[in-house]
């Protein structure tokens, strides 16, 4: 018995050493993520003189003024408004298109339903860069270039495939009884869709819109190609063009304040909708 106890303690010790190593490595990686972010934040509060004193130099007093300058002089304020208009419009449009279409795909039996479903899902597997140019040509032919409205229309369509996958699966899983009761009570198809279909699908609609938000907010190439006037830039392109202009203006701390401003919505959305973001990658994305 004494021998067993001795052995056990040996095992425990060995495991502990390994656990310590693992935990140190995990902590180092956490540091590798946090350090550059913290650096951006405290740099955004320095003066430009302090910026030139090196990366470790902390601000002597907080220059909140940098944020004001980023918002007004750099035009972050204007692009922030553009981004809000763009994202709100695109989310509403996409929810309308996908919500209505998937409701019918999931809740009605009709000829050609499976063909339509596979027609939509099928293109998921034809990806690549080959639409960068042809997508641009299309937008130009439609006269939708250099306008937020055009970008909203394009964004409304962009995540159709992914969202159809998620919403269709979710709506299919709901019981038929409520709808049948509604029809018996004399509700029209439109009323049933609006008062029953949409409210019941709320969790899935929320999920797709969290992803819509992040996709729209992070998108860079499309606004870079489709929007020409700087006063129409959404944040992603605005901050990029500011960084390029800084080669001549060298107001680095203000630019860094712009970085922080652009991170804030991401942090907010992530902390509020963590569960949707983390769960959905497990269910939706990869159930092939």
């Amino acid at each position: 018995m004494a021998e067993a106890a001795y052995k056990d303690s040996g095992v425990v010790k060995r495991l502990e050493v390994r656990d310590v190593v693992i935990r140190v490595l995990l902590a180092l990686w956490a540091l590798a993520i946090i350090l550059p972010l913290i650096w951006v934040v405290y740099t955004s509060l320095k003066t430009n003189q302090e910026f030139f004193m090196g990366a470790w130099q902390l601000p002597k007093s907080m220059q909140w003024n940098n944020y004001y300058r980023a918002w007004t002089q750099l035009g972050i304020g204007q692009s922030f408004v553009n981004t809000i208009i763009l994202i709100t419009g695109a989310m509403l449009l996409n929810t309308f298109i996908v919500g209505l279409g998937c409701y019918t795909l999931a809740r009605f039996d009709f000829k050609g339903r499976d063909i339509i479903y596979w027609y939509i899902i099928g293109s998921y597997f034809i990806t690549g860069l080959n639409t960068m140019v042809t997508g641009y040509i299309l937008m130009r032919k439609l006269g939708l270039l250099n306008s937020l409205f055009g970008l909203i229309i394009n964004y409304g369509a962009a995540p159709i495939v992914f969202n159809t996958l998620i919403l269709n699966a979710f709506m299919k899983g709901q019981p038929k009884e409520l709808e049948e009761a509604a029809y018996i009570d004399g509700a029209s198809y439109w009323q049933t869709f609006w008062y029953l279909g949409i409210p019941l699908a709320r969790p899935a609609l929320l999920t797709i819109n969290v992803f819509n938000f992040m996709g729209y907010y992070n998108n860079f190439i499309k606004p870079l190609l489709y929007i020409r006037d700087p006063e129409k830039y959404p944040l992603s392109v605005a901050i990029y063009s500011m960084a390029q202009a800084m080669t001549y203006r060298a107001d680095w701390v203000t630019l860094f304040a712009g970085f922080v401003i652009m991170m804030i919505p991401t942090i907010l959305i992530y902390s509020i909708f963590q569960n949707q973001i983390i769960q959905n990658l497990n269910i939706g994305a990869l159930k092939g």
Partner: protein
């Protein structure tokens, strides 16, 4: 309610047609049309102003001789071959640790580790561009503080260093998506499998590679498939940080195509850029089919079904 129009509007077949119309219209116009025309423009010369002129296979003859393009493609493979395994195995191992060894801090790490993956790529790219700055960047400041005397080395302007330096932001922002997927998959592995392995005295690495990996193999296959599809995809980071430079050291197909189609030189060679896109599509299709044959030994590609 009783007018003819109302009855038509409220009939089942009209509901089906009207409700599907926006979905089909938007999908077809914005997602299918660019894909279909990407098989047409490659055979034309098109500057975006005058009408496209059919020129047969001439673009493809040019592609065959375009050394810059093939160099760029080589760079894509370089980044894919270096970054993909790191993103894959780091994610697998960390996911396993976070699920199977619930340290007090694991829950926090899961949230923190994933954060770079949802950060806008513009921010990741610009942040790292400055982090690599020779004199003011945090990267050299850290290396110098750790005793590695790099002085004021400029990572992004040295043609050799820049190729490797770019891998850091790619991994920093790229691996955590895989981690989440692996975590989900690992959580779905029945606990009884681990328990019986523990009775047999299996070590953690054995559990990971002999139990977890075989069980989540389907998920891993899908992830490999998506990583192949993305082989030429994400070029934003490079476009922002180096724009393919210096001297083409980080040029990838995406940045190359971007310059040809939308470059500042004023030559909008849409036909040629589209031809490159078509070549990429063909290459990707061939690689994914081979990869799936290889992984499946003859089983049909269920994914594409």
């Amino acid at each position: 309610m009783n007018s003819k129009a109302d009855r038509f509007f409220n009939s089942k077949s009209s509901f089906i047609i009207i409700s599907l119309a926006p979905l089909l219209l938007f999908y077809t116009l914005f997602l299918v049309v660019p894909k279909i025309t990407s098989f047409y423009y490659p055979f034309t010369e098109y500057d975006g102003i005058s009408a496209p002129v059919r020129i047969g296979l001439r673009n493809f003859a040019t592609i065959a001789k375009d050394a810059d393009l093939w160099a760029a493609m080589k760079n894509n493979f370089f980044y894919w071959i270096i970054a993909t395994p790191i993103n894959f195995f780091a994610a697998l191992i960390v996911a396993f640790l976070l699920v199977k060894k619930p340290y007090r801090e694991s829950k926090f790490y899961r949230i923190l580790y994933y954060f770079p993956a949802i950060l806008p790529s513009v921010i990741t790219a610009l942040m790292w561009q400055f982090a690599f700055h020779g004199r003011y960047g945090i990267f050299n400041a850290l290396l110098n503080a750790l005793g590695m005397n790099v002085g004021e080395f400029y990572w992004l302007t040295n043609t050799t260093a820049v190729r490797w330096a770019m891998i850091i932001p790619m991994v920093w922002g790229g691996w955590a998506g895989n981690m989440l997927i692996f975590m989900g998959a690992i959580q779905s592995v029945p606990a009884s499998l681990y328990e019986s392995a523990e009775l047999d005295g299996a070590s953690d690495p054995q559990k990971l590679f002999l139990i977890t990996v075989p069980v989540i193999w389907e998920t891993m296959k899908t992830m490999i498939f998506f990583s192949i599809i993305g082989l030429f995809g994400a070029f934003e980071m490079i476009l922002i940080m180096t724009n393919g430079g210096p001297a083409g050291a980080t040029e990838v197909v995406g940045t190359y195509m971007y310059k040809i189609a939308f470059g500042a030189e004023g030559v909008a060679a849409f036909g040629y850029a589209a031809a490159i896109g078509l070549i990429l599509f063909v290459i990707l299709s061939v690689i994914s089919i081979i990869a799936f044959r290889f992984m499946d030994r003859g089983e049909a590609i269920e994914m594409a079904g």
